[in-house]
């Protein structure tokens, strides 16, 4: 089967900045694919290369198996939901949604009918006559979605589409987007810097860092078996022992350990069976409801954190900031890392 999107050794260079640096990956038809990374990691540039707003300096971008490097955006069967929604301020909501069919020469009545259909799909049927300025952020988001879907694109690109919404609305929209994608069967490429968003919605996630892809994997795998120190830290903020720290702890290889797998114990006492321990001093304790995050400065130098449930916290009563403790973790929970990356 031909991939919906394929990058073959794609680079995009601006001056001496390699925004995208020799990236290769493939996205399957119907997949919900997330591109995750901090700002400036190359994820948005990659999206722009798919949309056609930018051209690769070298390498090939393939849509449906065909090289589209020289094809302008208006000839690509790809539509985009922009971060700022990019709704046309001088048109009504209905005119905005009907814009795609309009520029493709669809008759006035036909495009109005299709636009109303799309507005119903995103539950904005009643607001067709309004201007974008009269809508709330969530409503604008839906209009942008309807406008991008009306042309029945093979691929929908979403550039941080929920970034401007408040938390509750964002969670609602995540569920809605996911079910919409299932219903339409369209390939979604979703750019975000929020690992929670990427993990909860995507079938697969590509983690970008400094113009390169660190790992492409399903969310569970990404979380359970991060390949690099960057992925371990960025996706779910795990504790990372690079080569130097591992050596200081008497362990042969760099590894990552999730905060919820780390226990806080008093300074004295035997190590639990099958565990490693490292001594340190308490830096801060942050209460998060069901659990607290203990930040501990290891004697070996790094600051690690441990998620401690309320129940276990009671045993630690009386330990204040500055108290000496041990962090212990089951050997089996440590994930070996490919490289001793640091950032």
């Amino acid at each position: 089967m031909t991939s919906a999107i394929e990058f073959r050794g794609v680079s995009r260079v601006y001056g001496d900045v390699r925004a995208v640096d020799d990236v290769s990956f493939a996205i399957e038809p119907g997949e919900f694919f997330a591109m995750l990374g901090p700002s400036g990691s190359g994820k948005t540039t990659s999206l722009r290369l798919v949309a056609g707003f930018d051209v690769p300096t070298s390498g090939q971008v393939l849509l449906d198996g065909a090289d589209v490097s020289g094809v302008p955006p208006y000839e690509r069967n790809v539509n985009t939901v922009f971060q700022d929604y990019a709704l046309f301020p001088h048109m009504t909501v209905l005119e905005n949604v009907a814009y795609g069919p309009r520029v493709r020469g669809t008759s006035r009545s036909e495009r109005a009918r299709r636009a109303r259909e799309m507005l119903d799909l995103v539950q904005l049927g009643a607001l067709g006559g309004r201007r974008p300025a009269q809508l709330s952020g969530g409503q604008r988001q839906r209009v942008a979605l309807a406008r991008a879907l009306i042309n029945h694109p093979k691929v929908l690109l979403l550039d941080e589409p929920l970034g401007a919404l408040d938390l509750k609305l964002r969670e609602e929209m995540q569920i809605e987007l996911k079910s919409l994608q299932k219903k339409l069967g369209i390939t979604f490429v979703y750019v975000t810097h929020d690992q929670g968003e990427a993990l909860s919605m995507a079938d697969r996630v590509a983690v970008f860092n400094k113009g390169r892809i660190e790992q492409v994997a399903a969310p569970r795998e990404l979380y359970a078996r991060p390949a690099t120190a960057f992925v371990a830290r960025f996706v779910g903020s795990a504790n990372v022992a690079d080569a130097a720290l591992a050596r200081a702890l008497g362990l042969p290889q760099p590894f990552a350990i999730r905060a919820e797998n780390v226990a806080v114990l008093g300074e004295a006492g035997p190590s639990p069976a099958g565990s490693h321990c490292a001594p340190g001093a308490v830096l801060a304790v942050q209460f998060h409801g069901a659990a607290s995050r203990w930040q501990v400065k290891l004697d070996a130098g790094e600051v690690w954190s441990a998620m401690v449930t309320e129940e276990d916290s009671r045993a630690l009563d009386g330990l204040a900031v500055g108290a000496r403790v041990r962090l212990c973790w089951p050997r089996a929970a440590a994930v070996p890392l490919n490289e001793a990356g640091a950032f």
Partner: protein, 301 residues
């Protein structure tokens, strides 16, 4: 000092009043007040025998303005010139403004903005007299036409009824060129400002949805430039309507509104008629803005 601060903190209305009253007094009396005082004069009339102003409200002066063919000619001549100048300025300015606002960056952008404003920093009179020389029968423009073997074309242009004349510097065509030159920056700058505010993502969204560049220009770029075009055209239109120096230095001998105002309030001493003439551009601008608003020119604001 501290007591004063506390006083104003507790009484914010006093603070606002202190802030607004002086500028409002200045604006209200010096600016609008004198304008209304002038306009009020248009409702007086001049006594034909004594040449004294009769200070009783009357529409006689306006009747004189709209019934005397010479006056109507002046208004029509000025309005036609102002419309032509505005349209020409808009056509010339649009590509320049689009380039300045959307494509130029860094030094190029600074160069263009300075370049557009530079002519405005020199004396208005110097530029007009310079243009009279450029447009003269033996001037550089006629010379260029000659060198290019196009003297015939220039002569055909100058023979055209209405706009022609013995030379460019004594024809309406020449006057039109000078007007366009003079007011072009007033069209470019608001247009560029309007286009600067258009987010790039709107143009990308249009292309993304399948619009060819010409469609994006027509459907997105141009409508979003309209508020700028409207603002710029108010400048070019009203400046042309009110100017009396360009028509008296360059062009055919027919009178324009500005010259008429100058003559009436000066040598003729007919201030009511001068005031009535100056009401014409104001009324026309209001009508124009009303129409522009009706057609949605300001919807994108």
């Amino acid at each position: 000092m501290r007591a004063a601060s506390t006083f104003f903190y507790r009484r914010p209305y006093w603070y606002v009043a202190l802030l607004l009253v002086p500028p409002l007094l200045w604006f209200g009396t010096v600016y609008l007040g004198s304008l209304f005082a002038l306009l009020a004069q248009s409702f007086y009339r001049i006594d034909d025998f004594t040449a004294q102003i009769v200070r009783e409200p009357t529409l006689d002066t306006y009747r004189q303005l709209v019934t005397q063919p010479a006056n109507v000619d002046i208004v029509l001549r000025t309005v036609s010139m102002a419309i032509c100048v505005t349209i020409a300025c808009a056509i010339i300015a649009l590509p320049i403004a689009i380039y300045m606002a959307r494509y130029a960056s860094g030094r190029m952008k600074a160069f263009f903005y300075v370049g557009v404003m530079l002519p405005m920093w020199t004396s208005y009179l110097v530029k007009i007299y310079a243009w009279r020389l450029l447009l003269a029968k033996e001037g550089i423009i006629a010379w260029c036409f000659g060198k290019l073997g196009l003297t015939g074309l220039l002569e055909t242009l100058l023979e055209a009824p209405g706009i022609g004349g013995p030379s460019l510097s004594s024809s309406y065509l020449g006057m039109f060129i000078v007007f366009v030159y003079m007011w072009l920056p007033f069209m470019i700058l608001p247009m560029a400002a309007a286009l600067e505010r258009v987010p790039g993502s709107l143009l990308q969204a249009s292309a993304d949805l399948g619009a060819r560049p010409s469609q994006t220009f027509r459907n997105v770029m141009l409508p979003l430039a309209v508020p700028g075009i409207a603002a710029g055209s108010v400048f070019t239109f009203s400046l042309t309507m009110g100017d009396y120096i360009i028509p008296s230095v360059v062009g055919a001998p027919g009178y324009f509104i500005g010259m008429m105002v100058y003559v009436q309030q000066g040598t003729a001493g007919n201030i009511p008629l001068a005031a009535a003439f100056s009401v014409v551009p104001i009324v026309l601008i209001f009508v124009y803005l009303g129409i522009a608003r009706r057609f949605g020119a300001f919807d994108a604001l």
